[in-house]
């Protein structure tokens, strides 16, 4: 299959950390992208955030050089997704919000259009309840930053259809990503393992047994974790991390997923990690 189907037009919904990164990736691979967000502030910031991440991707040599970048349009409502060959949902990790957004997107695009959710942990089967044609729905867990990590986790729900399974391959090939398919369930593979570990790392800090720097240094330099769990938490966004943990806790009852009090306190104070300039670390003049 060609990885050069650059005429594909994609709609990305949610212009946050992940939506702007996925939009940058798609534009960098030559696709026409419509980026949709309900927040005026997010829409206003979106073009600069996408441009900044495109530059980062270029600098890291992470984009093909054989094609011009695609165009980016920013929109405020789901009907702007009509006509897209695939839609990628990346709104806040709130299962009700996601269900409403996916239902709206399914109505805007009609049956047979690939619907992708970038959820960190809501089972695809559960999200499938919200749409009239669950066979069109697939989970693709893009990693952060989406334009630098070439591998993604793909979740085919029990009701995902063959056509959608094929379309998602085409989509990922056109974005230069390699999909690894896993079974459905809360947190799939990556969030189930990673979020539990990060939450525990935060607990160690709360207990006063180690500083964030120490935990990260040990995990990086002894265990080989590239970034360290607390720097990863800041990269993810502490609000999203707390939401994702809550989703996992609600669906598994596993107390390891109950968001650490320290995490919740930071979110309450508006210390959301890189995106707010401060989390477990300080990011002076942090760039979103």
């Amino acid at each position: 299959m060609s990885d050069n189907n650059s005429d594909e037009s994609l709609a990305v919904v949610g212009a946050g950390v992940m939506g702007t990164a996925v939009a940058a990736l798609a534009v960098g691979y030559g696709h026409t992208v419509t980026l949709i967000d309900s927040s005026p502030r997010a829409r206003e910031d979106a073009p600069d955030r996408v441009r900044f991440q495109l530059r980062t991707a270029r600098m890291m040599n992470a984009l093909p050089e054989d094609r011009p970048p695609g165009s980016l349009t920013v929109a405020g409502t789901q009907d702007a997704a009509a006509g897209a060959s695939a839609v990628i949902e990346a709104v806040t990790e709130d299962p009700k919000e996601k269900a409403a957004v996916l239902a709206g997107l399914a109505a805007a695009t009609g049956p047979g259009t690939l619907l992708v959710s970038n959820t960190s942990g809501v089972p695809i089967e559960e999200l499938g309840e919200a749409v009239p044609h669950p066979e069109d729905l697939v989970g693709v867990h893009f990693m952060n930053p989406a334009y630098l990590i070439p591998t993604v986790e793909v979740i085919l729900g029990p009701r995902t259809g063959d056509a959608a399974a094929t379309s998602v391959h085409t989509l990922l090939a056109g974005l230069g990503r390699r999909g690894i398919a896993v079974g459905d369930g809360p947190g799939f593979v990556t969030s189930r393992l990673l979020h539990r570990m990060i939450n525990d790392a935060i607990e160690l800090v709360r207990e006063g047994r180690a500083t964030p720097e120490t935990v990260d240094a040990l995990m990086r330099d002894c265990i080989g974790h590239r970034t360290g769990p607390l720097a990863t938490a800041d990269l993810i966004g502490l609000d999203n991390l707390a939401d994702s943990l809550q989703v996992l806790h609600d669906r598994t009852g596993d107390t390891a997923f109950r968001p650490s009090e320290l995490l919740l306190a930071k979110v309450r104070r508006g210390h959301l990690g890189r995106k707010s300039g401060r989390g477990f670390y300080d990011y002076e003049e942090a760039i979103r």
Partner: protein, 104 residues
């Protein structure tokens, strides 16, 4: 256009633009402050255990704003930001004296 600063210290006798030594010193300061680590001019900032791609972009923005240059196309590659020496070369290559400034 006026010169970027009214500084007249000896290092600036060659004109209104800071010398390579000034740029290097400024960058080493910037790095020390941001990373709370001291770096050597020829040290690879992105070697194992070093800085992230996000930090690399902070360097890009810092250079663009501080030296009023635009870094794009083939210049926008990590190798140009790997060391302070490489960044000094890049700044030197991209900046040109502000029009009308004669070096008083």
């Amino acid at each position: 256009m006026t010169t970027p600063s009214g500084r007249t210290d000896a290092a600036h006798t060659a004109g209104p633009l800071p010398s390579d030594e000034d740029v290097a010193a400024e960058l080493l300061d910037f790095l020390a402050q941001r990373t709370r680590t001291r770096w050597e001019p020829d040290q690879d900032l992105f070697a194992v255990g070093g800085m992230s791609s996000l930090f690399a972009m902070q360097l890009v923005v810092h250079l663009e704003q501080t030296y009023q240059i635009a870094i794009s196309g083939a210049d926008l590659m990590l190798d140009n930001f790997r060391t302070v020496e490489a960044m000094v070369r890049l700044v030197n290559k991209l900046r040109s004296p502000a029009p009308g400034s004669t070096g008083e």
